[in-house]
């Protein structure tokens, strides 16, 4: 089979690749949203003044969470969650939520540390100024500190998002189901096709790699646009 023929065959399979890309992106998007929410909550708990026992308690939980999640491999976490869900529910016709939650929980720990460092790098005078005009800690956080922290952490958050998008490729270790039918993520489909046509395995892998690269380049572009937009708000 000539290279041209191989590429022609690959083009005929584009539908399968794009469908799989869709699942990869759904998982990544869901995980980013979940991870960001978890990250903001954990970061705020970590940073809140420790003047009441409830916050102290949640702070301890946050520390344990971040330590455990950052201390174990993503793939292990995914397999633990996937197997636990199998034990509890036996079978699920649609299980996209499993990787979304696994990656979201994982990313949340990293986002928490990113956002916490962002909040810490905002000049403490900003909080003092907010408090001095009578605003509460929470309002000052929401209106003054978080918006400035977000600006600081945009590059690092995008770094985390890019890592997350690529890391979704480990879902090929579990069986994805949508409406009772098995589906594959981007790496998963390349491997499946490679098993069927071993001669083209490398081509399929390259195809998957190129698609990941395109997605990441698009994300980088979005990052630059956001950074430029945020910068405009300062002058």
């Amino acid at each position: 089979m000539s290279l041209i023929e191989k590429l022609g065959r690959l083009w005929n399979l584009r539908g399968l690749f794009f469908e799989s890309l869709g699942y990869s992106l759904i998982i990544a998007f869901g995980a980013v949203v979940l991870g960001f929410i978890i990250g903001v909550l954990l970061a705020v708990v970590r940073i809140a003044p420790k003047n009441n026992p409830i916050i102290k308690f949640f702070d301890k939980i946050a520390v344990v969470y971040i330590t455990v999640i950052r201390g174990t491999p993503t793939l292990v976490q995914l397999l633990i969650l996937y197997s636990s869900v199998l034990v509890v529910f036996k079978s699920m016709s649609t299980n996209l939520l499993v990787p979304i939650i696994a990656f979201g929980i994982n990313s949340g720990a990293y986002m928490a540390e990113i956002i916490r460092s962002g909040i810490n790098s905002v000049d403490p005078g900003q909080m003092e100024a907010g408090r001095s005009v009578g605003l509460s800690w929470t309002t000052t956080m929401r209106k003054i500190i978080i918006p400035q922290a977000i600006k600081i952490v945009v590059p690092t958050i995008f770094n985390e998002i890019i890592i997350l998008v690529k890391e979704t490729s480990v879902v090929s270790y579990i069986v994805l189901r949508v409406g009772g039918v098995q589906k594959w993520d981007l790496l998963g489909i390349a491997e499946k096709l490679g098993l069927a046509v071993p001669a083209c395995y490398l081509v399929f892998l390259f195809a998957a790699a190129l698609i990941y690269l395109a997605v990441v380049m698009l994300l980088t572009l979005i990052q630059h646009l956001i950074e430029r937009r945020l910068k405009k708000n300062e002058r």
């Binding site: 005078g125 100024a129 408090r131 005009v133 009578g134 003054i144 400035q148 708000n233």
Partner: protein, 309 residues
């Protein structure tokens, strides 16, 4: 009632092992202009920041407009001390030896204060008295801060908001004014300092002097009762000091209560009704500008003034 707006009683502030304030008391009357001077590290900024609780005092009480902002410090309330088990024990012991009751009372209280003898459990009468005092007088500091404008050495304008938003955020967020009302007030204030054209810009485009003048009118936009200035010109280029001091003077002349921590001795002399000289965490000397600058009594004050004047 008295006409003191701010009362600081027996204030101590420790940062870890470092004692910054070592028992400071002072009253600021309504309408009074008070300048606080002293070398760096003397505790003057810390004392000012205790007035609106940006620093939490370790011991002592802060009262603003008749409201208590800190927990009760039992050592400041003799009636409360008298209810404590420790007092009653010491008093009974002392009275048995036969001195007059009034003297014993004084001695026992002095002893308790000096040696920090009050314990965690001093009986229910004592606990109840503290609780009641607190309940009667305590006010959330956020409420008092609305009446106390603060101006910082490093301006601390909100970097993510325009000048106008800087000035309207708190009044609108705290529902003291509607947005149009707050914007109208803000524009009037900006007009007064000649910076209306800066309403829509972000703080990063302003000069230090402009930033500080806007920080001052941001505080004024809350219609405060008192303005606290924490070295408002220390971070400015020399050519911008004048414009900021002019505005501070305007604020003072308008009848506002003003407390200013400053290194500008000429300004303190000109504007203040009363000058406090601080050193090593205590107020060493206070008086009118004439008394303090022209006839200082304390050797430390003389020494300090000879260095800065």
């Amino acid at each position: 009632m008295n006409d003191n707006y701010i009362e600081i009683k027996g204030l101590y502030k420790n940062f870890g092992k470092l004692e910054v304030l070592k028992g400071v008391s002072c009253n600021i009357k309504k309408g009074e202009k008070v300048a606080i001077i002293g070398a760096s590290g003397s505790g003057k900024s810390t004392m000012l920041r205790c007035m609106n609780l940006l620093e939490t005092p370790t011991y002592g009480e802060v009262w603003v407009d008749g409201k208590l902002l800190t927990p009760i410090d039992p050592y400041l309330h003799f009636d409360v001390i008298r209810l404590s088990k420790t007092y009653q024990k010491l008093y009974t012991e002392a009275i048995a030896s036969g001195t007059s009751s009034e003297e014993v009372d004084k001695a026992v209280i002095a002893n308790i204060k000096k040696n920090d003898l009050l314990k965690n459990h001093e009986g229910s009468a004592y606990a109840k008295a503290i609780k009641q005092l607190y309940k009667q007088n305590f006010q959330q500091v956020d409420l008092s801060r609305r009446d106390m404008g603060m101006v910082f050495q490093h301006f601390n304008l909100f970097n993510n908001l325009t000048v106008l938003e800087n000035m309207t955020l708190a009044p609108v967020e705290l529902k003291l004014k509607t947005k149009p009302e707050a914007e109208k007030t803000a524009m009037e204030l900006l007009h007064r300092i000649g910076l209306e054209d800066k309403a829509k810009v972000y703080p990063s485009t302003l000069s230090g002097g402009q930033k500080q003048r806007i920080a001052i009118v941001r505080a004024l936009a809350m219609d405060p009762q008192v303005m606290l200035f924490d070295e408002p010109t220390s971070a400015l280029d020399p050519e911008m000091v004048g414009e900021v001091l002019d505005l501070v003077k305007q604020v003072a002349d308008a009848g506002m209560t003003v407390v200013i921590v400053t290194h500008e001795m000429g300004f303190a002399k000109e504007v203040a009704d009363r000058v406090l000289f601080m050193a090593d965490g205590v107020i060493l000397e206070e008086g009118t500008p004439d008394e303090l600058f022209n006839h200082p009594k304390n050797a430390r004050t003389k020494d300090f003034l000879s260095k800065v004047l």
